[in-house]
């Protein structure tokens, strides 16, 4: 069981080393650089104008729509990957080839219809 994960161990180690390395670089900058904070350096940079109000306002519902669309389509892709990886294997079996193509074609058509519906409802228009 563990052998399957063996090639991934270097990835994990590299991720840890990179995080430590990045921390060291930032720390070095903190030690090397000057430390002279002033009130003006501390205020948000808004082109020289003193900031009015907090930046955290409500934002457009379009962003939520985009996020939901992304979630839906990303899930579809999750279903598509195993199919794509095995597709040439399915084709080698003459009895199953038509099913392998047809079922996924139907899935993709439904997906495309959903996309068309969303488009017509204006989920992707930002005017």
């Amino acid at each position: 069981m563990i052998e399957i994960y063996e090639p991934y161990i270097p990835v994990l180690l590299i991720a840890m080393i990179v995080v430590v390395l990045a921390g060291v670089i930032l720390l070095a900058n903190g030690l090397l650089g000057p430390k002279r904070p002033t009130r003006l350096k501390g205020i948000p940079y808004e082109s020289g104008v003193d900031p009015v109000d907090s930046p955290r306002h409500r934002f457009s519902v379009k962003f939520y729509m985009t996020a939901i669309l992304f979630l839906v389509f990303d899930l579809e892709v999750v279903f598509l990957y195993p199919w794509a990886v095995n597709y040439n294997g399915f084709l080698a079996d003459p009895g199953f080839a038509a099913t392998a193509f047809g079922s996924m074609a139907a899935f993709l058509v439904i997906l495309a219809l959903g996309l068309f519906y969303e488009y017509k409802r204006g989920a992707m228009s930002w005017d």
């Binding site: 052998e3 063996e6 090639p7 270097p10 990835v11 180690l13 590299i14 991720a15 080393i17 990179v18 390395l21 990045a22 921390g23 670089i25 930032l26 070095a28 900058n29 903190g30 090397l32 650089g33 000057p34 002279r36 904070p37 009130r39 501390g42 205020i43 948000p44 940079y45 808004e46 900031p51 907090s54 930046p55 955290r56 934002f59 379009k62 962003f63 985009t66 996020a67 992304f70 389509f73 990303d74 892709v77 598509l80 990957y81 794509a84 990886v85 095995n86 597709y87 040439n88 294997g89 193509f101 996924m104 074609a105 993709l108 495309a112 996309l115 068309f116 992707m124 228009s125 930002w126």
Partner: protein, 369 residues
């Protein structure tokens, strides 16, 4: 372009691939201890990435100067080659300003979250047979996953900065990145479909015995091998996927004509407006490394990776990668920026439907080939 062009390397790799998960000649086998190998791998990759970023920024400035009939950097070193090195040294010695009222944990962690994943993503690539830090089955998916992690860091930076420009830039950036990830992954999927051969393909390696290797389309090494075995690069059978991938990759890296997240004329610098010193340099580093990552993915998926006649594998790999990078720089200095609604319509109204159709086309094509 067949495997016969690599008589020395292909059989070894083919043999290694037929016994899964034990690639010889990777750093992990040269040095028995995995942590030591990883340390060496990170060292080599960081050295390469630093050089790459220094070179890319210089190249970007030189190419833009050339397109706009200017000189570009000339003062520091021959042809201004050491200009970015000098800039880097300056950034290290600058003051790290932490503005008041920032969300400290988010603000301080954001550069790390943007920086670390792209470096890990680079370590997953096979630059040539035997020249890889590690070779994992799900390499392609891991690269996309790590490249996608950066979006979280971008939003952390925008939200934590307590700055209107930063938050607006981050919102736009996230919306753009998640949208263009769909056509990006769908176009890659067409290649995964064509590259996978669970039954196995025969690599004619010019040796006494040919090898039959089952190919898994999500492994970057296998995708390259599939192109070697079939004798053509996937850009020839999937030109539409290549174009979709390239356009989506430009958007994923926030580059012109899709650079509204940091549209400097309206948002100062977008999500990293409030960052200074090395924290800013890390965003910059991640941005240019991300360009390299998407170009290397395109090289593996569509241009045959290390495959090519006469020249050794790594030379071909980087020749293709840097040609694509030159294309990205060229596009940036030639096209004007899109408006946000145009950007979204291009993605959902054109790229996604065409990518879905293209995927169906690839499924038909797999039957014909």
């Amino acid at each position: 372009m067949s495997a016969a062009l690599h008589p020395a390397s292909a059989p070894a790799l083919a043999q290694a691939l037929s016994t899964p998960h034990s690639l010889p000649h990777t750093a992990a086998d040269l040095v028995a201890q995995p942590w030591l190998a990883s340390l060496l791998g990170v060292g080599a990759i960081m050295a390469f990435l630093t050089l790459n970023v220094l070179f890319l920024i210089w190249a970007e400035r030189k190419v833009s100067a050339w397109i706009q009939r200017r000189m570009g950097p000339t003062e520091v070193g021959p042809y201004g080659l050491f200009q970015t090195l000098a800039d880097m040294l300056k950034l290290i010695s600058k003051q790290l300003i932490t503005p008041s009222h920032v969300d400290r944990p988010l603000y301080l962690l954001a550069p790390l979250v943007v920086f670390a994943p792209v470096v890990v993503a680079v370590s997953l690539f096979p630059f040539a047979p035997g020249l890889a830090v590690t070779d994992v089955d799900l390499g392609l998916l891991l690269v996309f996953a790590f490249a996608g992690l950066g979006i979280i860091g971008i939003f952390m930076a925008g939200w934590g900065s307590n700055n209107k420009y930063a938050l607006l830039g981050a919102m736009r950036s996230v919306a753009q990145n998640v949208s263009y990830e769909i056509p990006l992954i769908l176009s890659a999927l067409a290649v995964v479909l064509l590259a996978s051969h669970p039954e196995g393909v025969t690599l004619e390696a010019g040796t006494p015995s040919a090898h039959t290797v089952p190919l898994l389309g999500t492994s970057l090494a296998h995708i390259t091998l599939a192109q070697e075995a079939q004798g053509y690069w996937f850009v020839l059978v999937q030109p539409v996927a290549f174009v979709i991938y390239f356009v989506a990759a430009l958007a994923e890296t926030n580059r012109a004509p899709f650079d509204i997240p940091e549209a400097e004329s309206e948002l100062v610098a977008g999500f990293h407006t409030e960052y200074s010193g090395m924290r800013f340099a890390m965003f910059f580093f991640a941005e240019y490394t991300n360009m390299l990552v998407v170009s290397m993915v395109a090289t593996v998926l569509f241009l045959g990776g290390w495959d090519g006649p006469l020249l050794p594998g790594p030379v071909w790999f980087f020749l293709k990668t840097y040609t694509l990078l030159f294309g990205m720089i060229w596009v940036r200095w030639t096209w004007p920026r899109l408006r946000f609604d145009q950007l979204m319509r291009l993605c959902w109204g054109l790229l996604v439907p065409v990518a879905i159709l293209n995927l169906l086309g690839a499924a038909v094509l797999a039957e014909v080939l």
